[in-house]
């Protein structure tokens, strides 16, 4: 459908389009991070692309499998042409340093929260973003949860938690509805078998 767009990109930006594929019918272009915003701008303004609808920005962490480590993924859609494209750029080293890329907020202001989220979850810094704060996690949170090296169960409580001595206390066998309102007598069951 939008093979066209890929061709346009290749002809327009040449070597800055590192690779392209159309797996599962999604047209994808991996581009040079330095040209990120420029290409985004082009996609929006060029009448043949006319990507006027912002869809999604996220990232993928390829820890230990690829360098650069992060893949910033942008999806945009054109209402009039009814075609989509996925733009990808690879940034950041194995420690996650230098994960920087230009913000496309000036191009689509919808990128605002999506870039904040990507920053929050992956620590990818979007230069030129108006306010790059955490959005889903709280400011006190250390680290970036969706990185593959962040342990899924590592909590960082804001307030000290009560220690519940035996947290399954109330879940004991003989707890629950008082005698008056039970569907049936559990003790008798236990006796019968």
């Amino acid at each position: 459908m939008s093979k066209l767009v890929l061709d346009i990109l290749k002809s327009r930006f040449g070597d800055d389009v590192l690779e392209t594929h159309s797996q599962f019918g999604d047209d994808t272009a991996v581009v040079n991070p330095a040209k990120w915003r420029e290409i985004a701008q082009f996609l929006r303004d060029d009448p043949r692309c006319a990507m006027n609808m912002f869809v999604d920005i996220t990232a993928v962490d390829w820890l230990g499998q690829r360098t650069p480590r992060f893949e910033v993924v942008l999806h945009v859609h054109s209402l009039d042409k009814a075609h989509r494209i996925r733009l990808k750029a690879r940034v950041g080293d194995d420690e996650g340093n230098g994960a920087e890329i230009e913000s496309v907020f000036p191009v689509w202001k919808g990128a605002n929260w999506f870039e904040r989220e990507t920053f929050d979850m992956f620590g990818v810094v979007f230069t030129g973003h108006p306010d790059l704060r955490r959005i889903l996690m709280y400011p006190e949170f250390k680290g970036h949860p969706l990185r593959k090296d962040y342990p899924a169960q590592k909590i960082q409580p804001l307030i000290e938690l009560r220690d519940v001595p035996d947290r399954f206390g109330p879940f004991g066998a003989d707890e629950g509805m008082s005698f008056g309102r039970q569907t049936h007598d559990y003790r008798r069951d236990e006796e019968t078998n």
Binding site: M137, Y138, P145, Y150, P151, A152, Q153, K154, I155, Q156, P157, L158, I159, L161, R162, V164, R167, G169, P170, F171, A173, E175, G176, M177, S178, G180, R181, Q182, T183, H184, Y186, D189, E190, N193
Partner: protein
């Protein structure tokens, strides 16, 4: 000299006959608890999926008003029953604790659903594994989300506890019909009946 017990929870009212206007004696606490249990002002602390079932509870079909617990107060200071409905994230926890601290005694906490009770299957970096890690809880209602019937059970259980002046945490048991259990389940001895 007839005796009748009021509702449940063992509080007893002795009705003395003999005079044309009968009068009753009871213990003051019982009377007070009896009054409390039927006038629960709730503060719905609603966050997640369970809100759907909470709506269902409030709406005509499973009418919470029947139990004198319908009046919502959106100020913690005016309410005495805190419904925690849904997942509480680490970020939400301080708000929840503050709300709880703002409520005036006597106050009860109703943990609505699995997430509120133990964190549910959100066993990760952002979820509180059960609100009892933040505030004390009176009644746990399991279910994801719990069916309104279960919630009603929980409500009645809570009223029971109030009447009995009992602050031990309690959990609503999943209802099970022995016949169904016998028919459908592979009986694995005691456990299957006591725990399913």
């Amino acid at each position: 000299m007839g005796e009748m017990t009021s509702g449940s929870g063992g509080s007893s009212i002795r009705v003395l006959e003999g005079s044309e206007t009968g009068f009753a004696t009871t213990r003051f606490d019982d009377l007070l608890n009896w009054a409390k249990k039927y006038s629960l002002f709730q503060y719905p602390f609603i966050t997640a999926c369970c809100a759907m079932e909470f709506m269902a509870m409030a709406s005509p079909r499973f009418d919470m008003a029947r139990f004198g617990a319908e009046a919502p107060r959106f100020s913690p200071r005016q309410s005495d029953l805190l419904w925690v409905v849904g997942t509480i994230s680490q970020r939400q926890a301080p708000a929840l604790r503050r709300i709880y601290e703002q409520m005036a005694d006597p106050k009860w906490v109703f943990s609505f659903g699995t997430c509120a009770s133990c964190g549910g299957f959100y066993d990760n970096y952002t979820t509180i594994a059960g609100i009892d890690k933040v505030i004390p809880v009176d009644v746990y209602v399991p279910g994801c989300p719990p069916r309104p019937e279960a919630v009603i059970d929980g409500l009645l259980l809570l009223q029971d506890k109030i009447a009995r002046g009992d602050r031990e945490p309690a959990i609503v048991k999943p209802r099970q019909d022995p016949a169904v259990v016998a028919g459908n389940l592979v009986r694995l001895g005691k456990k299957s009946t006591t725990e399913t």
